[in-house]
Symmetry: C2
Subunit: 339 residues, 2 copies
Amino acid sequence: MDGRGSSPVTLEEVARRAGVSPSTVSRILNGTARVRESKRQAVERAIADLDYRPNVMAQGLARGSSMSVGVITQDIASPFFNESLKGIEDSLAKAGYAPLFVSGHWKKEKETECMSLLAARRVDGVIVLTGMIDDAALLSYAARLPLVITGRNLQGTNVVSIQANNEQAGYDATRHLLDLGHTRIAHISGPEVNVDAQDRLAGYRRALTEAGLPVEERLITYGDFHETSGLLAVNQLLESRLNFTALFVANDQMAYGARLALYRKGIRVPEDVSIIGFDDLPSSLYTTPPLTTVRQPAYDLGKIAGDAMLGLIQGEPVSIPHIPLQVIVRESTLRRRGP
Amino acid sequence: MDGRGSSPVTLEEVARRAGVSPSTVSRILNGTARVRESKRQAVERAIADLDYRPNVMAQGLARGSSMSVGVITQDIASPFFNESLKGIEDSLAKAGYAPLFVSGHWKKEKETECMSLLAARRVDGVIVLTGMIDDAALLSYAARLPLVITGRNLQGTNVVSIQANNEQAGYDATRHLLDLGHTRIAHISGPEVNVDAQDRLAGYRRALTEAGLPVEERLITYGDFHETSGLLAVNQLLESRLNFTALFVANDQMAYGARLALYRKGIRVPEDVSIIGFDDLPSSLYTTPPLTTVRQPAYDLGKIAGDAMLGLIQGEPVSIPHIPLQVIVRESTLRRRGP
DNA sequence: CTGTTAGCGCTTTCAT
DNA sequence: ATGAAAGCGCTAACAG
């Protein structure tokens, strides 16, 4: 109770001080068995007096579990993933698990390396946030430890996947523009290999088609989910002299870039061109104008992933709640004016 | 070499397969002593064949070090801190150390809890990114394990602090505005208890004073480093009907909020009001207009912190390089027009 | 150079 | 209900 950081007090010292055996202390710590009330109290006092903290590594070695779960993210500094990381942290914390974050940097090999590193630390499971590894490899990992993955649909024992309906959300976003009277809608998609990006694009196509509009391929460009590529995409669109009055961008970061490109050319948002993004990053509330976008509950997603992992570890049946994707109308989209 | 995740192969199995004793394998793994070339090869083959990965927990227990360092950050989802986390991750990774990130949420007690949690995991050191704990507590922790802290100047053995000259940077930022002919410069500061915020404010005051201008206290408001508070601050400034043609905001996030507040009132940036922020978040390059700001090398800062920690752990003398803070002129500041 | 022998701090039978 | 003892997988003296 001295308030300072725990010195390496061991369970044995606690036992000695409380006048019991180490096993008894262990039992009390883990609630593994009933012990006489008097001993319990003595032990609890000793623990408090000594400011004892069980050595997590020793526990891990002894029971074969590390009380930590690996989290593979693409970029630990990505604004979107970070919200999710926070959710994961919160979820895991309440069960005493600690997350081990590692970045895959969008490279398949890097992710494999990460897996290896996490395996060495004997994590009790790993959460993969939109990974690049192929399903087969993932499945083989799942044979050894619980896996939770987002952004893809993988069936298997010991695996749960979390996926939102990006196709529908892409449809909704496009539909929002259509409803505002826009007919020339360009799309800035994400990396062609990215499933989420593919789905959003598919939704865009479906909305156009259902509305009886042609899908003009030249109005579709691809970026890498970073701001710069959004800017480049718009420049390219502008140079090709194609008309468009609205823009559906596959994520907010690229939407920021797109918005700047327009600003540079003196094209007003939303008066001249409407923009709708995707993700609803915290900062999208504060762009000028505030960005209309599709809200992805990033934090909740992390929380769900964490809870699912906990369930998997404890061998409980896990059920994934539906992930709602919702268009948030702010000020970057406007009814089309003119003829 | 089967490419799959490591199964729990143990060092003993490797030894058996290679026909040597466990200690020999251990020696080879750690380079602790010279061993005959033939044995080395046999062991290396066995390791590869079995896809052996040392159990980090067992290593930790045996040598009393966990090969991990705790990182206490205020908010794992803060855009600024994240860049630093990335730097820390990169730095630590090359030495085989893994970072353990925990969030203090700007609460002193929460941070103490974090320290406790990290202590239980027997981290080999902890990096505190702008913590709230008091110096005394920090110093007492340092008695037990290496500490690297940013945003404050703490002397002591086993402690290294990393601090940039925020006062000078605040001065420079204000000076930039002054140089553009502004004389009515408002300031949105950070939390009053935050040292960085205090320093930036002090720099603002000094610049004004040196320029022979009065420091009007009513032009100084305080926020909490989040967007909303920047917006609120500007509204408040506007309501008080004080004139100002420029705004020095203590961080970029609040600058975003401030910029939006201005936009709402139809006040143009930079034509009517110039804004300079602080941090240079990646997204500040893409605001409209791109934000003039003071660049803080967040990533480098993390890298420096990580390297310092490594040095501390290895008992080497550490020297902290100078952290350059530099005004980046973009498009949110303009020469004052009119009389 | 290399094998043998103790632990590291905790959990978990197995007795009692 | 509780203590004694045997590990968990690895490192580090200690002897050869």
